[in-house]
């Protein structure tokens, strides 16, 4: 539930966003809406244009064409942007500066107090390291410090580039809980990653970039449907089962040590076998391999579908 004093999340809108670096079209006409109340994963392999897209969103890189807006204005025209948007693009810090001092250099622009600095350090689990120089920090600790900086202004919009990079599995779980909590409060959370598995349990929506183009955008649930699921079957009369599968237009494949039916869900296969009076000894839905689907979308083997993310909105989105 949104708390009364939670700042409003605002939609992030990319329209025809394009950027060319030399001969490389880094971002190519991307249209995308990122909605409040949800965690959106911006996915794609290294070099697919994720970071460039985020840098254009934050006014660090000038687009060749198109626009990127937060609410109804570009980042650079937001007064005190740190109170509206918390952004962390790279875990880069001056190595000689203490963690607490790093946050204190960010605090004036946000109007954050010393107490708030200590509070966010606690929130990301760095209270004990507050007085240590960042030069001795692990990548995971740097990620936490970067995240602490984004939370300083209690912003309604969070933009995080590869926040899970360098976190241990425990840290990834912690990040998931934090981001989901922030989205539940009605905030807009946009995270990029080149590994779907890192954010799979975190995101509500996915946007997939490949070579600068948006090749897929949907809720995660819809992307799961795209995933190539299959049904493992076994029975005494596999020849009859094969005929049945062919009749129905499905495919029976002999895979290592067993048979799988592709193109159907387990209840359909079970019902068909029952109707045909065929005995089954095994009927098991083998979970979709989302990562593989993601990679196949990226490589163009499986056509993704780009649709407005509004379609996937649920009660959480409406609450914002």
């Amino acid at each position: 539930m949104p708390t009364p004093n939670t700042p409003p999340g605002m939609p992030i809108r990319f329209r025809g966003l394009t950027k060319t670096f030399g001969p490389v079209r880094a971002v190519d006409g991307v249209d995308l809406d990122v909605l409040p109340g949800r965690v959106t994963g911006l996915l794609g392999p290294n070099g697919s244009g994720k970071t460039t897209m985020l840098r254009m969103l934050l006014g660090l890189v000038r687009p060749d064409a198109g626009s990127a807006m937060i609410g109804d204005r570009p980042y650079v025209s937001i007064p005190r942007p740190g109170t509206v948007v918390g952004a962390s693009l790279e875990a880069s810090f001056h190595p000689g500066r203490k963690a607490v001092d790093h946050l204190l250099t960010l605090a004036p622009a946000i109007g954050a107090s010393r107490a708030r600095v200590d509070e966010v350090l606690g929130l990301v689990g760095l209270s004990d390291a507050a007085g240590r120089r960042v030069g001795g920090f692990s990548l995971g600790m740097r990620q936490r410090l970067g995240l602490a900086g984004t939370l300083l202004g209690d912003p309604g919009v969070l933009v995080l580039d590869e926040p899970a990079n360098g976190l241990d599995p425990q840290g990834i779980l912690w990040l998931r809980d934090l981001l989901r909590h922030l989205a539940r409060e009605g905030r807009t959370v946009l995270v990029s990653s080149h590994i779907l598995a890192e954010v799979q349990a975190t995101v509500d929506d996915v946007a997939v970039l490949s070579r600068g183009s948006l090749v897929h955008a949907s809720s995660l649930a819809e992307m799961v449907h795209l995933a190539d699921s299959h049904v493992r079957v076994a029975g005494p009369d596999m020849e009859a089962l094969a005929r049945l599968v062919t009749e129905r237009g499905w495919v029976l494949e002999d895979v290592a040590g067993g048979w799988v039916v592709r193109g159907a869900k387990a209840p359909e296969v079970g019902a068909a076998a029952f109707a045909a009076g065929l005995e089954l000894h095994a009927l098991e839905s083998v979970g979709a391999n989302l990562e593989e689907t993601f990679l196949r979308i990226v490589s163009g083997e499986v056509p993704g579908s780009v649709r407005a993310l509004e379609d996937g909105r649920d009660a959480a989105g409406a609450a914002a």
Binding site: F21, T52, R55, L58, G59, L60, V61, R62, Y75, V76, P81, G82, A87, L89, E90, S92, F93, H94, P95, G96, R97, K98, D101, H102, L104, T105, L106, A107, P108, A109, I110, G111, G149
Partner: protein
């Protein structure tokens, strides 16, 4: 702008560089001014370098020695304030906090002007303590009762404040840290001194050009010069020295804003 200034100030004082350089400036200036202090009391025939002009001018030259030999401290510190942002890739966070890039450079100019004044204070303090001590030991007057001596010392601090701002401007123009520092050291330690002496030897017309070098302008501002004390050059009027220094600082900063800081931060 206020927030950007506070942020820049905190950046400066949250790494050890400022006080390490403050101590170094104090120690280096004390050592050099102490040695020169003794040397000025020795006749040339005995290996000394008895200076022209008499007591007050000698004292002013000694006490404002940081303007001639210590300005590299604020200059490098000012440049580092910009180049470290590129080297450690903290510019991204800086620009996220303050997207107006002109404000970022302006706040660095102001804060590094202050740091330059602090380093100037350290250097002048070191020079005065050591040189006055040397003069006392040699039985010469320290001239500390002369208002013009204190005026020169104060202007030396102002000159080093301006050097800090010149450093920011230069760092903005040449944001690569190694290139920036190498160019600064090469120009200030080698090229400018050689050119100033060389141009002075070539005659009046050429010597005029040398007056507008930043080192000469800073010395003009403080009203005392090691080079002119040893007869190597005349100086601009004091006010003109200040104007030339300010022009270097703002000119470099403006060029840096237009050429370097307009680029994409990737």
């Amino acid at each position: 702008m206020r927030a950007a200034l506070v942020s820049e100030f905190r950046k400066t004082v949250s790494t050890p560089l400022w006080w390490v350089l403050g101590l170094t400036a104090f120690g280096y200036m004390a050592m050099t001014a102490g040695l020169l202090g003794f040397a000025t009391t020795m006749p040339v025939e005995q290996g000394g370098m008895e200076m022209t002009g008499g007591g007050v001018d000698v004292a002013r030259s000694l006490y404002s020695l940081p303007v001639s030999l210590g300005y590299v401290f604020p200059l490098v510190t000012g440049a580092l304030a910009v180049t470290t942002e590129f080297r450690h890739r903290t510019l991204t966070a800086t620009l996220l906090a303050e997207p107006n890039r002109t404000t970022v450079i302006a706040s660095k100019l102001v804060v590094q002007g202050g740091v330059g004044a602090f380093l100037g204070l350290c250097g002048v303090a070191g020079a005065m303590v050591a040189a006055a001590g040397a003069l006392v030991i040699a039985g010469e007057p320290t001239m500390l009762g002369e208002p013009s001596v204190w005026g020169t010392a104060a202007l030396a601090v102002v000159a080093l404040a301006l050097w800090g701002m010149v450093g920011v401007g230069f760092g903005a123009l040449v944001p690569n840290q190694v290139a920036s520092i190498v160019l600064i050291l090469a120009f200030t330690q080698l090229i400018e001194p050689l050119l100033r002496i060389g141009l002075a030897l070539l005659g009046d017309g050429f010597a005029q050009v040398g007056l507008y070098f930043p080192g000469a302008a800073a010395e003009a501002l403080s009203g005392a010069s090691l080079y002119s004390s040893i007869g190597a050059a005349e100086l601009l009027p004091q006010w003109a020295g200040g104007v030339v220094m300010t022009a270097y600082a703002l000119g470099f900063a403006l060029l840096g804003r237009l050429l370097t800081f307009r680029r994409d931060v990737t």
